[in-house]
Subunit: 420 residues, 2 copies
């Protein structure tokens, strides 16, 4: 679901910037889908259907009662109160296979099959039953329109009907539906293997003490967990140092991969070698983009040893925002689904300045006071500040050239997925 | 986050109905928390912190450059253009430990330590460098206010600071923050073991062909996957038949459990024995509630063998709605967190009638057209219709006695979690 936005950013300065949507479309276009395989539904949570799922059964299989009460003939309860004889009982799992005649009633419970001859239910609250036994005379005080509390056969699903189309993410409720429809397996796309490589001479591994000028490699930890949360299988490719060939070597040693995601080394400074690694041979195709977004301007889309590669910028918040904007839809596409997170318009709690040519992903907090929701941008938006991102529960998404807005005006907001 | 709602439902008919919030509070009140244990951060995605996490490191550890450019003395770039001598280079991981004198500049890249003597950065776009080597004279054409592109030490976090409080759900971004702050483990609460029991003579197991009057047990499949998605460990307790003692026996055979969730057998009909099982001994405390909600009026809160029990109604949509409203917060509470899903106000696409005394969870679809979002209730709201729930992406939540609303008026909407 995409809110209404200006079509594309206009180049305001020296180099034209690529709009986010165009970059995403170009990334997705080159990604293959993973192979389909049959899987038990009990193990399929979070997988995406590769084929339509078709119901094997009709539900309900026959007309059933929607309430606890009595199955009767509608013609018998037009004059009220009236008296009927309870002749039998029909419960879920214990149908009664006789037929109701005039003046008769069958005690029914929710989910019970409607006996032949009956065409309506009087609910137990409208009946004086005398006793819970057959042969007694019950008094019906009130009745709803005929058929009101009957669920007809096939109300929910009909055998042969497509109940979940290909591309559906299998949720708990969709698995429940498929099980109820008589299915036990589904054809889903394999979980893509996504290699995660961080680059930089300044990085040390988690658990090591950084020396002068060094920092702990945390982007890889974020990406490994993020990819897991997106339904991918994350493969740790370690840290590549800032020298020619290091990235290529790490990828070549990793075994089968469907996608490589790198972080760092994506600017054009002297110390950045991913670009030159990718550009160094014919099969390692390369796009080096400046995206009209903030944070996260530099982005690489390429192929390394025929494996698609997305190169994210190295600032932690830039890495995280670009992962949500590009890597999540990439993984969703590889399994035949889509990742179009819901966005909502919410009023700002403060004024914001006009935006420039870059689409802005502003770390923000949605809060509620006296039943009124507002969204508040974090006061500092530096792309190195992981603490600000960890404390945000939403991004305010401002399109390029969005005019200044006053407190109370609405902006588009994307709530952050809980495991993001 | 709770929207503004009338305090409680008023009993309109015979029996007073319990408001949703009161029922939830009463359920949560009796639930113990699981035990805390130390866990590597790499295995902690989706776990909840039992203790505050405190940073071991300051980030950045020293002042660093936010841009590629040149570290200079602000006093040298007040008159522009000016010329400076490049004397050294400082890159992330390769700091330069000299000191800048008047008229000198040090080439820096993003994340590089700022050399002593420098107090500002001129970005490379504002410099004519002649060449990328030391000793050359560079021309600075433009400069931003002093310090603009310097990230001071501790901008993100300071050693000793609480970076993530107890109760935080560990997401990819919070794990990234903790790793960057020098941590490798966290104390989290154990994943609760949640037994899932379906009840009913009409149920057959998935994979079996239902006979006359029978249906496949699908609520348990839903609940097992739902509990997994909530961060619980689901334990299959099978199907208990509608006879006294069946539920008790299934629970007693299951081994250690932190919570039992049952489905079905929760109305007061003749065939419902969960209530009598719970009420049959002193230690099996029992609350049997009629909740002011739709779907899902009957709800059981009890103890079985000292294990807390939540008894959900048996209609599949009632089961699912009550699971989201009661079981998800219950699991979140047991691990020391909270599950307060975001809700948003959206305009209706159609008119809706006034609501009665029950809080309504209306299966609905949020859609966007021409940049305008609306929410549309599914035309049929029968609580047996799993297909309607599977195709919904939101609940419209209408408080008790909500007046009729016209298309275009706003209602509170809860987007459904993707794996729900």
């Amino acid at each position: 679901m995409m809110p209404n936005r200006p079509d594309a950013s206009k180049p305001a300065g020296k180099s034209p910037l690529l709009p986010v949507d165009q970059a995403l479309a170009a990334i997705i276009e080159r990604l293959p889908q993973t192979t389909p395989a049959r899987k038990p539904l009990e193990q399929a949570l979070g997988f995406t259907l590769a084929e339509d799922l078709t119901a094997a059964l009709t539900l309900p299989p026959q007309a059933v009662s929607a309430m606890d009460g009595y199955a009767v003939r509608g013609a018998d309860v037009t004059q009220l109160p009236c008296q009927l004889t309870r002749i039998a009982e029909s419960a879920a799992g214990h149908p009664w296979d006789g037929e109701i005649a005039a003046g008769q009633a069958v005690r029914v419970f929710t989910g019970a099959a409607i006996p032949d001859g009956a065409d309506t239910i009087v609910i137990q609250e409208d009946v004086d039953p005398v006793a819970e036994e057959n042969g007694v005379v019950i008094t019906v005080r009130s009745a709803e329109p005929v058929g009101r509390y009957i669920r007809p056969a096939g109300l929910d699903i009909t055998a042969g009907q497509v109940i979940l189309p290909a591309g559906t993410l299998l949720s708990a409720r969709s698995i429940g539906l498929a099980i109820a429809a008589g299915l036990t397996t589904a054809t889903v796309r394999a979980c893509p293997r996504v290699g995660v490589l961080s680059t930089g001479d300044e990085l040390v591994r988690p658990g090591e003490m950084p020396g002068p000028g060094q920092i702990i490699s945390s982007n890889a930890s974020f990406l490994m967990n993020f990819i897991t949360a997106c339904g991918g299988h994350a493969v740790d490719l370690g840290i590549a140092r800032d020298k020619p060939g290091a990235m290529l070597k790490a990828v070549q040693q990793a075994g089968a991969l469907d996608l490589v995601v790198t972080t760092g080394g994506a600017s054009v400074g002297t110390h950045d070698h991913i670009v030159s690694d990718l550009g160094s041979s014919a099969e390692n195709a390369l796009n080096f983009w400046k995206i009209a977004m903030r944070p996260g301007k530099p982005l690489i889309s390429g192929n390394v040893n025929d494996i698609p590669l997305i190169g994210l910028p190295g600032n932690p918040v830039s890495t995280a925002v670009c992962a949500l904007v590009f890597v999540r839809p990439a993984i969703a596409h590889m399994v035949g689904g889509s990742a179009d997170p819901l966005q909502f318009e919410l009023p700002l709690s403060v004024d914001v300045e006009a935006n420039d040519q870059r689409q802005d992903y502003i770390r923000a907090v949605i809060s509620t006071k006296d039943g009124r929701q507002t969204v508040t941008p974090a006061p500092r938006q530096d792309s190195s500040m992981m603490s600000v991102l960890a404390n945000a529960n939403a991004f305010i998404i401002r399109p390029p050239f969005d005019p200044a807005k006053a407190a109370g005006e609405r902006v588009w907001v994307m709530p952050l997925p809980p495991l993001y």
